[in-house]
Amino acid sequence: MMHHIRPAIVMIIVMTVITGVAYPLAMTAVAELVFPYQANGSLIRVKGKVIGSALIGQEFTSPRYFHPRPSATTEPDPKDPTKTIGVPYAADNSSGSNLGPTSKALVSFVQAEAAKLARENPATAIPVDLVTNSGSGLDPDITPAGALFQVPRIAKARGLPDGTVRRLVLAHIDPRFLGILGEPHVNVLDLNLALDALNR
């Protein structure tokens, strides 16, 4: 029996050293050296202060900014830590809504979101990404359709011509990788930073 136990114990220790210590630490060292920006979370600084990550969506509610998709992330309720409350874009607690397609909660949520959006742009059908929760709750992107839908509201709030805001959106569409992979998308934080630069 000892004949089998010794290799088992030594092997798991050896593998822990190689794959659990040497490998991740070596990758960290190389990553910090070669890709320091990405390795540290693609953080964006404005005037020296970190305002977020280029890859992580953040909440925008002001009419002057493009809004991200709905987010189903939660945080513990400060009044009662055994319960949770909805806190959109909580980037330390990623989560989707996990609502199924025949869920009343899902359908009434979409109905409410759609009603809000219809008030700001009644002429256009509402792009589905603007009324549905992303898988991570941290989606940094909206579809080009979702950005264009919000143009009239932002133009009005900032006193800009529709055409200027629309051109800004079109200039910020990230195309498919090599024209094939993924879907065209617009990074909301990126677009909002460009908006602020435009309006200064």
Partner: protein, 578 residues
């Protein structure tokens, strides 16, 4: 109404083409490694390999009987279990813990330890709120490597059963394990970890970043050594995310390129093993026949998955919501999906992650349309043999081949044989036992959870979808997949315990009869092929095996699937909400 796009089909076709092209070169390399031949990495790795054997006290020329091979694997798994359990319980006192995570509860530590050592990577917890960096690296990442390597080793054991003649042993577990890690998993993981960092996956040991957002809100951005775990999570078909949202999280899967590479890595080793199999039994065509069975079943999953999801949810149509694809949006069922992936990439990921025993998700399966949710469920129920988990996919498939050849033998009244080995009562019984263990756990536990208050308490969605959540959970753990209809609140003593048992049964109670069949096959002589031998590289063979798999799966699981996704689908068509 067809809402799929040409681009969507092109992406899926491109994926299939690259997978086919990868199979032979990677299979050739792997076959050389396992034969102990020199490869381009040998000058670097051979001394390390020898050193490992020396300190472990392993004689690499020792050929193990199947019982010894199985015992080595089981004892190794148990040693890993004890260490992983200990790290979680003690993580509060250990280093690399900038977020100050405290000890993981006993039932959750049990569940997580079984989960990672069985290559399931079911996660009852929110990683970024629960696990320290040390637990992620020295605990979970290690098992991502060794559980995958164990799977490959076990597949090699069964292949040798077919390839050898009148042999007492089926190889050496320690050698197969060590070579899998050193020559295959580690080099590929290193390359892809760096590609993932380049694309945006973090790789640091710093504390979470507190930021003041552009609008003036506050946000805590969780980070960590993500890329190194991401690479092996996918490559080893493990699937346990660094973050709760798994590969939907922009830090785990930042771009369409990382997404494509992840889909590919999930199936690459499983596909290459068909070629390794072919080479080891002396005919690559035998490997391609198995590949063909898998590829047909892959297409049978991904095509409906994409077609269904692109339709969108009919319940939303009333609110002036646009779900049709255009140049400006992918449309479709976007609940639980990420914009950068859209529908086609999400459908492909959902299919590959459940064809394999991976269980990573880039979209939330709980929010899939009913029949689109049935596709991943059925993929797992069939045994994850569609390329499958690394190693486990191939040995699962070979068990079905044994049954298929038995059925063919019955039809013509001849003793069935495969690759010159007579399949007799013992092998067929062992194959059936290994196959039938899975539904016993899936359907048995689902039935229990669906009537006990402790089981029903976990449901997040009402109506048939709630039943689907339970069924999916026990299907996922027994199949060692790890994906979830994640609304289910599974971090309770009831679910942590029953799901942990399901994982254990699905892995080990399947492996033992499988190895018994391998041992018995290895001892047999090779019968020369004659006119009466069933040609096992023909389309007829591929069709027969596909048929046996579908009929077996259909007979066992159809009633359960009809109570969940099928009832929900008809409810959706009648605008019934729950």
């Amino acid at each position: 109404m067809n809402h799929t796009t040409i681009n969507g089909w092109v992406q899926i076709a491109l994926f299939g083409a690259v997978l086919i092209l990868l199979t032979r070169p990677l299979g050739g390399y792997m076959a050389s490694v396992f034969a102990g031949e020199r490869t381009f990495l040998s000058p670097l790795l051979r001394p390390l390999e020898r050193g490992i054997y020396r300190i472990c006290g392993v004689d690499e020329t020792d050929d193990q009987h199947w019982l010894t091979y199985a015992a080595s694997m089981l004892i190794f798994s148990f040693a890993g279990f004890v260490i992983l359990y200990g790290i979680q319980r003690l993580q509060g006192m250990l280093p690399f813990n900038p977020a100050g995570m405290t000890a993981v509860s006993p039932d959750l530590s049990f569940n997580t330890s079984v989960s990672f050592l069985t290559n399931t990577n079911w996660q009852s917890y929110v990683p970024e709120q629960t696990m320290s960096y040390l637990t992620e690296m020295a605990g979970l990442t290690v098992h991502n490597f060794v559980s995958a390597a164990s799977g490959i080793a076990l597949a090699l054991g069964l292949i040798r059963g077919f390839a050898r003649r009148s042999a007492a042993g089926i190889g050496n577990f320690w050698v197969d394990l060590t070579r899998s890690v050193l020559y295959i998993l580690l080099p590929i993981a290193i390359v892809f970890a760096l590609i993932f960092v380049w694309q945006g996956c973090p790789q640091n040991l710093a504390a979470y970043t507190h930021v003041t957002t552009l609008q003036g809100g506050s946000q805590v951005v969780a980070q960590g050594p993500v890329a190194s775990q991401e690479a092996i999570k996918i490559l080893g078909t493990n699937g346990g995310g660094f973050f709760n949202a798994n590969s939907a999280h922009p830090f785990e899967n930042p771009t369409a390129l990382t997404n494509f590479l992840q889909e590919l890595l999930m199936l690459a080793i499983g596909a290459a093993l068909t070629n390794v199999f072919g080479r080891m039994v002396g005919s690559e065509r035998q490997g391609w026949a198995i590949f063909a069975v898998m590829f047909v079943l892959f297409l049978g999953g991904v095509i409906p998955e994409y077609a269904i999801e692109s339709q969108g949810n009919p319940a939303l149509a009333a609110f002036h919501v646009d779900q049709a694809p255009s140049a400006m949006q992918p449309g479709g069922n976007m609940e639980g999906k990420e914009v950068r992936f859209g529908i086609a990439d999400s459908a492909l990921f959902t299919t590959t992650t459940t064809d394999a025993s991976c269980g990573a998700v880039n979209n939330m399966h709980d929010s899939l349309l009913p029949l689109a949710g049935a596709v991943p469920m059925v993929n797992i129920m069939l045994g994850e043999i569609i390329f499958g988990g690394v190693g486990s996919g191939l040995y699962g498939m070979l068990l079905f081949v044994i049954v298929a050849m038995f059925v063919a033998g019955l039809m013509v009244g001849r003793t069935p044989e495969y690759l010159g080995k007579k399949l007799e009562a013992k092998e067929v019984k062992m194959a059936m036992l290994a196959i039938l263990i899975l539904p016993l756990s899936i359907l048995g536990f689902t039935a229990i959870a669906a009537v006990l208050p402790a089981g029903l308490a976990g449901i997040a969605n009402n109506g048939p979808h709630g039943f689907s959540e339970i069924l999916y959970a026990f299907t996922s753990v027994t199949g060692n997949n790890g994906s979830a209809f994640a609304g289910l609140s599974a971090n309770t003593p009831f679910y942590n315990t029953t799901l942990g048992l399901g994982m254990f049964i699905g892995r080990f109670l399947m492996i033992v009869p499988m190895l018994a069949a391998a041992g018995s096959l290895a001892r047999k002589k090779i019968v020369p092929a004659s006119l009466g031998t069933f040609p096992t590289t023909s389309p007829l063979f591929v069709g027969l095996v596909v048929g046996v798999i579908i009929i077996t799966g259909g007979l066992i699981y159809f009633p359960a699937v009809s109570l969940g996704p099928i009832v929900e689908h008809t409810a959706m068509l009648h605008h019934t909400l729950y």
